[in-house]
Symmetry: C2
Subunit: 415 residues, 2 copies
């Protein structure tokens, strides 16, 4: 079963918006065994949209569009869909009620004609109710192909995918069974791993696929299998896992799930009822942000200090001016003091600290651009490592964040 | 002049990776007057890639591909390009030298055959040297159309776009002049603005285009004009700006540039030599992260405290347990105390604090899910506002971050 995702809207094509919707939709479709053949971003242009529908219908069984359902003049998805299906727009009374409800309870501004018009849908469509916004989702069928149109606002789209689209697709089609297993590895590049497990990869059965998913110093190995014999696939996946694991033992993180490292750490800390605090300099709050993006972080994440200036390191973390003068802000001495004092201040089991030159300039530190120190403090110990992450500000920050999580994970597992 | 961007790689189609490359490329092309007709994401599959090349060649003058240039078996872009151009691969001696240099100085691991093979390029291609990685960019031409192939690693791609692709395209083609002007507005929805300025929009000249770019409570109005008469376009843009501004006076931010609000604040604070500090609870470091993502943030951002737990609010911010007991953690009293104490602790001109229920649960607070208090402290004053941002954790955090920046901007402009 193949799908195509079509995102409609000039804002993607002018680079104003990064299309994160397609990745979400693709991920959810993959889970139920629908492969995405292509993702296409087209303009808010009638002919272009019609052309993309025709082409998608040739390639795919399920066509999902996002965007172009807003109330303004450049949003023409709905009337173009009606044209494609030789249909007309008519008001859906439930959508209208939903819009009136939203305006009364949340928007609290006068309801205008352009908003009411959002209740107009192609008469042949089934409405997918949008709890969070005025633009409804729509489901149409033609020659056995399913067309689904969703709003482009990410949280509205997500709710419609989870609550409406996926359950309805499962009902409508008989999907093959699909099984993914992801092995998170550290410390070895994509090509080195590929060379090492070449024989394993060559001998995989036809219905298996191995993907290398590299990201900032880590590589996820993703083994996928698809078919109708569920038991057979499960047994073969287990056999392949047993063949693979001994070959990657030294670089394997221990996790066969596709979750983020901060979520892995969160699981460990919650299970062990342990806590962590942070003192971030060059990472500037990014580690805290990654922790707190996970629901339930308050169980283990006590808080952190973003000590961006020298003064804040002195006043708030009690790192003495003498130490900073002697060793400079970007140094082993400073980063270890930061971690140690932070752990005591927040009274946590672990503390993580960072200091470095993210760039573009190195200010008055003794170290090169891209040099970052990361320290871990425990109740009995504190230690640090020095890294050199290159000369891209964003890359330096991201690599430092990932490395800090990696060091913390290792430390937790020691205890 | 039209371009098509083709991203190659299964990782986008399985939703493992969000395609942020295309937005960057589209933005840079737009600046020089090249419109992106379509963005297409295709699989690491020979036939699919060839099909996308054929279709793109029909629609566009410039075809830019990213991805599929890695050293592993699933990376087939290069040999497929060679096939499309009826060409063969040959080693480029400069690329090989670059790879040897990178391995010796940065990778510091044994150079393997798969890495050396990355120096193989189609014999008809011009190499675009990749300073940051082993996969070179490639430039090929066919029937007056330009094909450019770039690696998928974002920072490698960006450097190649900036340093090689854009300058070479400017040399190769005579581009029309393009002018954008973006008006950042607050506090009014897309549809309400559209209704208000309907007449203005209807009367725009044919070569002008107005786009509404909404994002979390703000709408950017983007006026674009394109043509060969540079002076005429500039004059007309000025005339249209003068027509538009009085109509949006009450919602206009004062900025006609397309920069982020944190960058706007950074400019103000740097100019005025003022500083800011933060106490973040529900936003968990996200405000700090947004500040520090900007180079030069150390000029005005002193630091912040992520006070995620009640204990950290008590111990580190000196908010008394009595106040928390009496009013609950999510309250006007707590948020104002947080801002006030933080400003004093960091000795800054301004401090911003947040506390709220981002969800999914409200713990033991008295307020509903989605309720967030934000406070601003100055040297003479502290005040706060209460907001209700709905029931999506990520949305609540993002809206709170944006609202905090908005309040801070207003406060800075008062002084």
């Amino acid at each position: 079963m193949l799908a195509e995702i079509i995102t409609i809207g000039d804002e993607i094509l002018i680079g104003q918006i990064v299309d994160s919707n397609s990745a979400y939709i693709a991920k959810q479709l993959n889970k139920i065994g629908v492969s995405v053949y292509q993702i296409t971003s087209v303009q808010d242009d009638r002919e272009h949209i019609l052309k993309s529908f025709r082409e998608a219908e040739e390639n795919a069984d399920i066509i999902i569009t996002t965007g172009g359902l807003g109330p303004t003049k450049d949003d023409i998805t709905k009337k173009t869909i009606a044209e494609y299906f030789q249909d007309t727009l008519k008001e859906d009374v439930y959508v209208r009620k939903n819009i009136e409800h939203l305006w009364e309870h949340y928007v609290k501004k006068p309801l205008m004609q352009v908003n009411i018009d959002q209740a107009l849908v192609p008469s042949k469509s089934e409405v997918l109710m949008n709890k969070y916004g005025s633009a409804p989702g729509m489901w149409l069928e033609k020659n056995g192909k399913v067309f689904i149109s969703l709003p482009g606002v990410p949280y509205e789209m997500k709710a419609l995918i989870d609550d409406e689209v996926i359950p309805r697709l499962r009902e409508r089609f008989k999907f093959p069974y699909i099984r993914h297993k992801t092995f998170l590895t550290y410390g070895m590049g994509e090509s080195a791993i590929a060379e090492r497990i070449e024989k394993f990869e060559d001998e995989l059965p036809d219905y298996f696929k191995l993907a290398y998913l590299p990201s900032l110093g880590r590589v996820r190995l993703r083994l996928s299998a698809k078919g109708f014999n569920r038991e057979g696939i499960e047994a073969e996946m287990e056999r392949q896992t047993k063949l693979l694991l001994p070959q990657i033992e030294d670089i394997f993180s221990g996790f066969e799930e596709d979750i983020s490292i901060e979520a892995i750490i969160g699981k460990y800390l919650t299970e062990r009822r342990q806590t962590v605090s942070l003192a971030e300099s060059c990472t500037g709050g990014a580690i805290a942000g990654r922790f707190t993006a996970n629901a339930g972080a308050s169980q283990y994440f006590q808080g952190g200090l973003v000590a961006y200036s020298k003064e804040s390191k002195v006043n708030l973390l009690g790192v003495s001016e003498e130490i900073i003068e002697k060793h400079s802000v970007v140094s082993k001495e400073v980063v270890e003091r930061m971690a140690k004092n932070t752990r005591i201040k927040f009274n946590t089991d672990f503390a993580v600290s960072t200091t470095g030159n993210a760039g573009p300039s190195t200010d008055d530190t003794a170290e090169d651009l891209g040099v970052v120190y990361i320290a871990i403090a425990t109740k009995s110990n504190v230690y640090s490592e020095r890294f050199s992450f290159g000369n891209h500000r964003v890359k330096v920050i991201n690599k430092a964040v990932n490395k800090a999580f990696e060091m913390l994970q290792k430390e937790i597992l020691k205890n």
